[in-house]
Symmetry: D2
Subunit: 103 residues, 4 copies
C-alpha cells in the first residue's frame, strides 16, 4: 500500500512571509524519518498507512500551535493499495509516457 | 478552539457515479455525532481538536477501504483558537457584512 | 453540462481576520448573477462552462488585488457533462441515499 | 509578480489508472512553454499573471474533455506581487532556513 499526502500548512496571523514557520514544520518532517519531497507549493510525504500520514499532519500543527492563533491547511491524499514507492515512481511513469508520445 | 475541516473522499476505481460510496461515508459521519454540513462539493465538520477531525478522515477511509483499490481525497482545514460555533457563524458573519455593503 | 467550482481566496498579509475582504469577493459573486452557495469554508459556484467559472476566480482576485501583496486560493472543480442543477441536486441525492440506508 | 498554481486534473470515469490521460495534459503544458514542475501529486506552473495560469487550466480540460464525461480537479494558487522565480526559489529558501536551524 502507498499513501501519498501533499499538504501546505501555515499561520495566517503572521503577515506575508511565513517561511520561518514553514521551515520548522519541514524540519520536524525531516527528523521524523518519513519519505518526503519539498515543492514550491507544499510537502509530499509517502507512508504505508493513512494513520501515519495523518499523524504527520497533527505533528505539523503541534509545531505551529504555540505561536499562532489561526492556522490554515490544504491537503490532497492519494491512497493506492497495490503500489509502492510512488514519490519518485509517479513522476517517472508520466515522464516515460510523455517520451513515448513524443517519439 | 474551533477546527473546521472540509473534505471530499471518493474511490477512483468505481466509474463516474460514486454517490453510493459517498453516502456510506456521510452516514458514518452522521452516526459519529460530530457537527457537520453537507455541500455540493464535500462535507464540512467542526470539532474542538484537530485530532478529532483527523479521526473522522481515518474513519471515512475505513468505510471505503473494503471496496476500493484507489481512494482520492481533497481537504482544507481552518483552525482558530479564539472562536467556536463557526459552522453556522462564518456564513452569517459574511452575510451580515454583505448586507452592510449593500445598505 | 454542469461545472461546480468550490473555492476560498484570501489575502495572507492582513492578519488573522479577513472577513471584510472575503465579503467583497462574495458581493462581486452575488452581483455577477452566477448561481452560488456560501459555506463555512468557501463559496461554491455552478456554471455551464469551465471558462465562466474561471472568469469568476479571476474577478475575485481583481477584487482583492488593490489591497493585497499576497493572495492564497484553494479550489476544487467537478465537471460533469450529462448533469445540471447540481448545486442543490448533489446534496439532495446523498440525503436521499442516507434515508434509504436508514430505513 | 509571481503566480504559482499547483493542480491535478483527471477523469473519474476511466478506472483506477489514469496516467495515460494525465500524460496528455503534461504534454500540452510542456509544449505551451510555461515554467512547470511535475510532482507525485500534480503539476506546479509559474506565470506572471493569474490569467495565464487559468488559461493553462482551461487547456488542460480541453485535452481531457473529448474522452471524459466527468473530470475532477484540485488546485492551489499563491500570488505574490513583489517576487519572481519562485518555482525553484521557494524550495531553496526553506532548505536554507532548515540548514540554519540545524547548524
Amino acid at each position: 500500500m502507498s499513501v501519498l499526502l501533499e499538504f501546505s500548512m501555515f499561520p495566517t496571523d503572521k503577515g506575508e512571509s511565513v517561511s520561518s514557520y514553514v521551515s520548522k514544520v519541514i524540519d520536524m518532517i525531516r527528523e521524523s524519518g518519513v519519505s518526503y519531497k519539498l515543492t514550491a507549493m507544499g510537502t509530499i510525504i509517502e507512508t504505508e498507512t493513512l494513520l501515519e500520514a495523518l499523524q504527520v499532519v497533527q505533528k505539523a500543527y503541534n509545531v505551529l500551535e504555540p505561536d499562532s492563533t489561526r492556522v490554515y491547511s490544504s491537503l490532497k491524499i492519494d491512497i493506492r493499495k497495490t503500489k509502492s514507492d510512488r514519490l519518485e515512481g509517479k513522476v517517472s511513469s508520466v515522464e516515460e509516457k510523455i517520451g513515448k508520445i513524443k517519439s
